[in-house]
Amino acid sequence: MSGATPAAPQAPAMPTLLKPEMKRTREGFGHGLLDLGQKRPEVVVLVGDLSGSTNVSFFAEKFPDRFIQVGVAEQNMMCVAAGLAATGKIPFLATYGAFASCRSADQMRVTVAYTDLPVKIGGAHGGISVGPDGATHQAMEEIAIVRSIPNMKMIVPCDYWETRKATVAAADDPHPNYIRFGREPVPVVTGPDTPFTIGKANTMREGSDLALIACGVMVYEALVAAKELETRGIHARVINMHTLKPLDEEAIARAARECGAIVTAEEHQVHGGLGSAVAEAVVQSHPVPVELVAVHDRFGRSGKQDELMTAFGIKSPDVVRAAERVLARKRAR
């Protein structure tokens, strides 16, 4: 006997806010489509030569008869989806968000939205967190474009589970939807049982000194920022504004009234995104100081997810600094 005590088998560390479970939102889209494939025979999936990277390959393997490869032709894909919808299908199309929102914007506007067809647009690789591909593939204008088009709904889920639920929920909505998701693994901050309703924001954390309103991966950054603010005795409410349109104006007005200061956080251009939408709602309901954490009117570039988010000023410390600014403005009123 050596006398040494054998090490007890190590239980996997429970995920914590600072060491979260990491999962890709695009997988949530892929799995959401699988959920739908079984339940909804009218769901069909189109892709523009990006089956693997949008994870619609899961659906393609299971339901090959309802999978339509369109090739590199995003404009055609948007309108083919519209034609399919006109025959009673619920078409989901997938490509990179940069192309879905910009390349086929006119097709989305005239053929899909004006006709108000239930076309479901999956915009993959949203935001700067795409990383190495660089500016052309980092979609950062989607919210601005989509929410300006009548009849469109815009959903930016925060993690794997929410993307999966948003995908399933979109199929039940008889109008066109756009779902934005990302490439890289991102922290899981909701669970399979967290409620999700299109257009209804989720409060992730209570607080009344200020409200952090975020969407997408920035919900996690807001939660981390709130934890940091807590150590300074500041109680921040964190609101997951997963639906950009229709906007939960009631939740925003309540936050403005009860907290008196708001910071918005998004992985998107500052013009026309979440910050703009919240500011529009706030000035029309209960005006309070608002600070916007976003990409400030510049194109992305190649790099790693983390270093890009830091360089572009959209990590949790940026949210904390914005909170300090907005609280100073609140005090000065």
């Binding site: 069909v44 008869d65 309802r66 339509i68 369109v70 090739g71 032709a73 404009q75 055609n76 894909m77 948007m78 309108c79 083919v80 989806a81 519209a82 034609g83 399919l84 919808a85 006109a86 025959t87 009673g88 299908k89 078409p91 006119d106 097709q107 506007r109 005239v110 053929t111 004006y114 006709t115 108000d116 067809l117």
Partner: protein, 300 residues
């Protein structure tokens, strides 16, 4: 399922009515396109009064054929065909482009029941028709899908994305028609941006290509018959037409692409067509309930 099967003289008469409607409604609206609607009238009439199964009484009839005008600006002919075919009363044509009417400048599904998908931005319609054809086939629905395009519209890149798609998926239930009137809003197509040889282009995209005189009703009937019998590939009918056909002072003049006739010009045009503006407007005004043209067709 209501498919009328009119013969050639009946179709020619119906086309004359449609042309008169177009001129009269444009005279009232004083806004809209004259040239393309008049060049599309003959094949449009063959589609609505012979070739297609449509059911104005039950718009979502699963047995209906589907039709889509990618050239949304030819609403005068679309609405005239719809009204003559019984989708809505003829009197409604006089509300074309008016705030209170239900006939938008470009086709709108939610304003005009019977329009399957709104259109108006060129180049998108063939893709829509591809989706309709593929969706119908996935459902085992035997319907056919018809898509009307313009020749100037062939300059849009998306047309060729859709052309590739339709041939790749062997959409034999899809039939496109191109109103080949050789004019577009800025001038002659060959001067603006040449599209010739158009037949070769479509052939090289693996389509069944049919060329017809787009004002020869008997030839148009035969072309649609041939398209219907074609297996394994989609068909396109290149309909050689004359812009402004039927109105002497509009024919073959690109300036009539996007403008309406004055009331005086409309009256002159209608006199060339054997009526007057007053007489034909009165016909539209007294027609307040839709009905399928009586006596001329038999159900197939």
């Amino acid at each position: 399922m209501p498919r009328l099967t009119m013969n050639v003289p009946e179709l020619q008469e119906r086309a004359l009515f449609v042309r008169r409607d177009i001129v009269a409604l444009l005279a009232r609206s004083q806004s809209g396109h004259s040239g393309g609607p008049l060049s599309s009238t003959d094949f449009g009439t063959v589609l609505f009064f012979h070739e297609m199964s449509v059911n104005p009484r039950k718009l979502d009839d699963p047995a209906r054929d589907m039709w889509h005008f990618s050239i949304g600006h030819v609403t005068p002919v679309i609405y005239a065909l719809m009204a003559e075919r019984g989708y809505f009363p003829l009197v409604d044509l006089l509300g074309f482009r008016q705030f209170k009417g239900h006939l938008q400048g470009h086709p709108s599904k939610h304003d005009t029941p019977g329009i399957e998908v709104s259109s108006g931005s060129l180049g998108q319609g063939l893709s829509v028709a591809c989706g309709m054809a593929l969706g119908s086939r996935m459902d085992g629905n035997k319907r056919r899908v018809y898509c009307v395009m313009g020749d100037g519209e062939q300059q849009e890149g998306q047309i060729w994305e859709a052309a590739m798609f339709a041939a790749h998926y062997k959409l034999e239930n899809l039939c496109a028609v191109i109103d080949y009137n050789r004019k577009q809003i800025d001038g002659d197509v060959q001067d603006i941006m040449g599209i010739a040889p158009l037949q070769d282009k479509w052939k090289s995209f693996n389509w069944n290509v049919l060329e017809v005189d787009g004002h020869d009703v008997a030839a148009i009937l035969r072309a649609f018959e041939e398209a219907r019998a074609t297996r394994g590939k989609p068909s396109v009918v290149l309909a050689h037409t004359v812009m402004g056909k039927g109105v002497s002072f509009m024919e073959d003049d690109y300036k009539w692409h996007g403008i309406p006739p004055t009331r005086e010009q409309a009256d002159q045009a209608l006199r060339e067509m054997g009526t007057t503006l007053e007489e034909w407007t009165a016909r539209l005004e007294c027609h307040t309930a839709p009905e399928v043209a009586p006596g001329t067709g038999r159900s197939a």
